[in-house]
Amino acid sequence: MSKNIIDPENLVYQKSSIMVDTVMTYCPGCSHGTVHQVIADVIEDMGMQEKTIGVAPVGCAVFMYNYFHLDFTEAAHGRAPAVATGVKRLNPDRLVFTYQGDGDLAAIGTAETIHAANRGENIAIIFINNGIYGMTGGQMAPTTIPGMITSTCPYGRNEALNGHPLKMTELLTHLEGTCYVTRQSVHNLASVKKTKKAIRKAFENSMLGKGTSVVEIVSTCNAGWKMTPVDANKWMVENMFPYYPLGDLKDK
């Protein structure tokens, strides 16, 4: 039995061939890296590399198209569900998904999100919710929780001034056009496995023409939150989960 760790018979896992072998621009500890790996694994498992068209957001994941061996299109901030509508309606046999942050999906893109889901577009929407605008330097998001400090609410989010955290996933659950709405996380191995199942289901639903699937992934932004990655994971579990409880909200 070989003792060499990189011998083929000792290989128990490798990153998906769909991931580009490159350094990503995400901060160490960021949930994006993990979710990207999960998406690549699912597409490889499904054998859908040649039939997938991804729609990238504006936000930290704006360059996600550089990290996957998949055809991709960018979308203007918030417009990914509209772009995906055009892509999918015109190419119904392709797997089409959007990947969006909380500013993209729940602020500027609120109308596009709701209407694509209301029409029941056969797409999967992956929603990375870390309660902050990472790429632009850590400003408040609609999903920032009360008391949370960001660069545009340096004394903590104040409900009277800024409203309550916006629960888009709950809103989308009520639309007839959504077939599967779930909230997951990737902060430990068990949650990563659940997220993988959720994304697989979302992708399969879209190929079966069941309507819109929404997979929210409550995530960390240790850079924006000004914490270590380990502390950020802990803080998320203790402070974000009460506002954004995990689990399936809908599964038709």
């Binding site: 590399q49 040649e50 039939k51 997938t52 068209i53 729609v55 990238a56 704006v62 198209y65 550089n66 996957f68 061996h69 998949l70 055809d71 991709f72 299109t73 960018e74 979308a75 203007a76 417009r79 509209a82 772009v83 995906a84 509508t85 055009g86 892509v87 999918k88 309606r89 015109l90 190419n91 392709r94 109308a111 596009e112 209407h115």
Partner: protein, 357 residues
């Protein structure tokens, strides 16, 4: 045997888009162009050619749906009127930045703001000088008849796909709403996936093993690379300027004065030319058909011969700037215009010209 039918300009756009093998239309209702989408819905092309027709929730979404379709190499169009076209400027800038082909239609109405529902030509600047951010031009076609509304759908798509620059049909409520005889283009089948892969090898359709992944984007963090991208695009614009100018002249060869007008105002000005000629005044009409690329050279040529030019537009004076640039100060260029949705009568234009003589 040519089949001649009677229909509105807006309807002609709808019929022509189906016949030209368009893949998708995404739009939002707004007066005076809602007939475009209504006609498409009535025709049910999804049952015949497979064309997708979808009413979007806004003009912001419509143009982004077109962006999505275009990103996959499909022939897509949207239409709106002035206030809605303002909402599309974001999508237009992104489309140019991503070098995507598409057809846009603006049936202009009085503005600014919510304005009026009557016709105007006050979005010339927005269309020709770029209403969206960044360095770019659109290929802008100005029809003056229902026939040209039909014909310019095919021409717009052809030019757009040839140069990978969005094309816009810039028309107004007069042409959109009036009914005239038209010969519709023959049916052209929609392209197959294989044809799209050949014509648009850059499209994001799903990465086959034979190539690396295609990415449709307008972003680049490297300013030197971005400058090169912009320079390459500018070269395409120069090529279009050199080869795709279109215009029409009427009685300009011996003219002392030239009227310059586009779209419906050119039709009205034709009558003014007739009336003025009856009085012995040697006047001609130069009608730009492509507003971008602008027919600079022909105007420069006539600037050597005429005493003055009068641009007639339904706005406060927009195309006049391009006319002045073309003549380089050789002759005076005057403006006559109506705003707010008011359409000028031929006699007014005659009076305006006589004032400048």
């Amino acid at each position: 045997m040519k089949e001649i039918v009677l229909m509105k300009g807006n309807e002609a756009i709808a019929h022509a888009s189906i016949r030209y093998g368009s893949d998708g239309y995404f739009g939002y209702p707004i007066t005076p162009q809602s007939e475009i989408m209504e006609t498409l819905m009535e025709q049910k092309p999804w049952e015949t050619t497979g064309m997708v027709v979808l009413q979007a929730e806004s003009e912001i979404a419509s143009v982004q749906m077109v962006f999505g379709g275009a990103a996959t190499g499909k022939k897509c169009l949207t239409s709106s009127s002035s206030p809605g076209v303002s909402l599309m400027q974001e999508g237009i800038s992104y489309a140019v930045g991503a070098d995507l082909p598409m057809l846009l239609v603006n049936v202009m109405r009085g503005g600014p703001g919510l304005g009026t529902i009557q016709p105007s030509q006050s979005d010339y600047f927005q269309a020709v000088k770029g209403g969206g951010h960044g360095d770019y031009n659109l290929i802008v076609l100005a029809p003056n008849s229902v026939q040209e509304m039909a014909d310019f759908v095919g021409l717009g798509f052809d030019l757009s796909f040839k140069y990978r620059i969005p094309a816009m049909i810039l028309t107004d409520g007069v042409i959109g709403q009036m009914m005239e005889k038209v010969v519709l283009p023959p049916f052209k089948p929609r392209r197959t996936d294989a044809e799209i892969a050949t014509e648009c090898p850059w499209a994001a359709v799903g990465k086959p093993a034979s190539r690396s992944h295609n990415v449709i984007c307008s972003l680049d963090m490297d300013p030197y690379r971005m400058e090169k991208k912009n320079e390459e695009r500018q070269e395409r614009f120069r090529l279009v300027e050199a080869t795709e100018v279109r215009y029409e002249e009427f009685m300009c060869e011996d003219a002392d004065y030239i009227l310059v007008a586009f779209g419906s105002v050119a039709r009205i000005s034709l009558k003014s030319v007739e009336l003025l000629r009856e009085e012995g005044i040697k006047v001609g009409l130069l009608r730009p058909i492509t507003l971008w690329p602008f027919p600079t050279n022909i105007l420069a040529k006539y600037a050597e011969k005429v005493k003055s030019m009068l641009t007639v537009e339904m706005n406060a004076g927009q195309m006049i700037e391009d006319v002045r640039l073309s003549v380089k100060g050789k002759v005076p260029v005057f403006h006559y215009g109506r705003m707010g949705g008011v359409v000028p009568a031929p006699e007014e234009i005659c009076v305006a010209l006589k004032k400048q003589m």
